[in-house]
């Protein structure tokens, strides 16, 4: 197993792709935390903790759930909305959950508005502008997600979670694979279960805007 660990940055001017550092994707039924293979159950707990610790826990839904192009996508979108609502109910005063869409990967003219959207080519702007210290990608095409996750790890101190419908993401600090409505709802259950048990980092919050 690799000694390399996928940790919140800022890591490097140009961080390596975690896969090239020996980090391997989980097999079905598994997840990874910091690049170490873990059980899904442990990953739910850790992801819920990270959400509840964060000053600005944020969900970034992508086109695969934002475009209602099939029934399954629509159901996932509803589940994500429920996760977000659960998060809002469970955080403490001073914490500000956000839901920031990534509906499109195309360039924006004259520029993106990082306060209201995220683009995989410059995700750091959205992290910085909103002082996001924990985020979850869901419904983002794997290639675009990996670009974003790596740039975030390189230039910010944000903790990243990937809820991937395919094989998962080494470049996130925590990654699920084969995401489904049930898995999204299970994460919401864990957030509810840990409500009030996790100390949020309010005054000593590590800002996402680390440079």
């Amino acid at each position: 197993m690799s000694d390399y660990r996928v940790l919140p940055g800022p890591e490097h001017f140009l961080p390596p792709a975690a896969a090239s550092m020996g980090i391997r994707l989980p097999n079905p039924g598994e997840a990874h935390i910091n690049g170490v293979i873990a059980s899904e159950e442990k990953a739910y707990e850790e992801a819920a903790k990270q959400f509840l610790m964060a000053k600005v826990p944020t969900i970034f839904p992508g086109p695969l759930v934002l475009w209602a192009w099939n029934e399954k996508a629509a159901k996932k979108a509803a589940a994500i909305r429920q996760l977000y609502n659960t998060l809002k109910e469970c955080v403490q005063p001073g914490q500000s959950p956000m839901l920031i869409p990534m509906p499109d990967y195309r360039p924006k003219y004259p520029k993106i508005d990082p306060e209201v959207e995220i683009n995989p080519n410059h995700p750091n702007l959205t992290i910085w502008h909103n002082k996001i210290d924990c985020c979850m990608f869901v419904g983002v095409h794997c290639h675009q997600a990996n670009l974003s996750l790596k740039i975030i790890r390189g230039g910010t101190s944000c903790y990243t979670i990937a809820m991937c419908a395919q094989a998962g993401h080494e470049d996130a600090m925590l990654s699920f694979r084969d995401a489904s409505v049930e898995k999204i709802m299970k994460l919401a259950d864990w957030v509810r279960k840990l409500k009030g048990t996790v100390q949020p980092r309010l005054t000593s919050a590590k800002s996402g805007a680390s440079n």
Binding site: A19, A73, N121, H122, A165, Q166, A167
Partner: protein, 404 residues
């Protein structure tokens, strides 16, 4: 977000049954058949549920391309046409793959080189196109004979590169290749290489899977990038490449993109191990002398080992199946006991020996050779001779007919 409805067990329009690929390749009955390598390519494509095949003739791949044309006429291939040139073919393959098709093409020698610009583009666009490379000479003076120099150029394109030894490898790996390259965490093109003529034009007994079984179709919705249409990236994204802007984040995006291609090559490792039963095959890894080879040089090496055993010299073998992903750890482990490592190659530059030297400790153990090139054959005796000369077992022999 793949469709969860399975087509396994249903039939296509030709009456073939979509079959679980693992079962088809490992459990289905096999029929021994006496075919040329080109005919074997056709038979693999018959079972590959391929949507589009695009061809341009160049020796020695022309016959395979023509035979696949027959498959199209029979209704096994969705679409088939001839491009204007090798460059056009590879560009057209990209278009078909962008649109969500399972794509196949064949190429050889100078044609591969002419099309070269497209290969890193395929990788960068994450297009799981399969390309058969029936290697032939690329350099002047012109040769149409087998020579593996072009593989050296493919190694840094971001494609997966496998090197088949036999027609049996070819049949199996064409079908298995799609399973690896279409994985969502891989999703890269595959250059499946063989040594032209030695494999394509010689007949061999090849065990074929039943013709009424075929691969499940490609599911483009498992792609790590969106399928192309006029409103979706990557096409619209490319209208305004981020590299045109000179700022840190534009560079970071482009750099991350490139890294992601090689990360995908790394991710192909576990899938390749699963389907190919390891990235290398080995024999006698406890021997002091090892031959490490890929392609038909493996066959010549195997025969050299037999000849050496008759003289009481024990020798081991490493057959390198995949060049990308590169089996670094496997080769290191397999050669850890070797005092001498010989790398016979069908090319003038010795690219495989260079890769091995860069991989293993104490690389002075690697003897880059023997080399033949330009399509010259490699009799096993010259491998034996190289080994015996290096070990001081006899003086180098003189090739008959030289310089008279």
């Amino acid at each position: 977000m793949a469709d969860t409805r399975s087509v396994i067990g249903t039939q296509n329009k030709k009456g073939q049954t979509f079959t679980d690929t693992w079962k088809m390749m490992n459990e289905a009955p096999r029929t021994p058949s006496f075919f040329t390598g080109s005919e074997v390519i056709k038979e693999a494509l018959r079972r590959a549920s391929c949507d589009v095949m695009i061809a341009y003739p160049i020796t020695p791949q022309s016959e395979a391309a023509a035979l696949i044309g027959e498959l199209f006429a029979e209704g096994y291939i969705g679409d088939y046409f001839r491009g204007e040139s090798e460059f056009a073919v590879m560009s057209q393959c990209a278009g078909a793959a962008f649109g969500g098709a399972r794509v196949f093409t064949t190429t050889a020698g100078p044609g591969t080189m002419r099309a070269m610009e497209n290969f890193p583009m395929w990788s960068g666009a994450r297009l799981p196109i399969q390309m058969i490379v029936t290697c032939r000479g690329i350099n002047s003076p012109l040769s149409i004979q087998p020579d593996t120099l072009e593989i050296a150029y493919l190694l840094n394109t971001g494609m997966l590169v496998w090197h088949a030894e036999t027609a049996q490898d070819f049949f199996d790996w064409i079908l298995k290749g799609y399973m690896v390259s279409e994985e969502p965490d891989v999703h890269l093109p595959l250059a499946l290489c063989c040594d032209g003529f030695f494999v394509t034009h010689t007949k061999d007994v090849v065990n074929l899977t039943p013709a009424d079984m075929c691969l499940p179709p490609y599911d483009p919705y498992r792609s790590p990038v969106p399928c192309m249409d006029m409103e979706c990236p990557p096409v619209r994204m490319m209208r305004d490449p981020f590299v045109m802007k000179s700022n840190y984040i534009s560079y970071a995006t482009h750099a991350s993109w490139q890294q992601e291609i090689w990360a995908a090559v790394e991710r192909s490792r576990k899938h390749s191990i699963h389907w190919l039963d390891g990235l290398i095959d080995t024999e006698n890894t406890d021997a002091d002398i090892m031959i490490v080879a890929s392609g038909t040089a493996v066959s010549q090496g195997r025969e050299a080992i037999r000849l050496l055993e008759e003289e009481g010299v024990r020798c081991g073998l490493v057959k390198v199946k995949t060049l990308r992903p590169w089996p670094e750890e496997e080769i290191r482990e397999a050669t850890k006991n070797a005092k001498h490592i010989f790398v016979p190659e069908f090319n003038v530059t010795g690219w495989l020996a260079k890769e091995i030297k860069a991989t293993i400790p104490n690389h002075e153990r690697v003897h880059a050779g023997p080399h033949v090139c330009g399509g010259m054959t490699m009799p096993p005796e010259i491998i034996v001779n190289e080994i015996k000369t290096t070990l001081g077992l006899h003086k180098s022999f003189v090739m008959a007919g030289r310089g008279s």
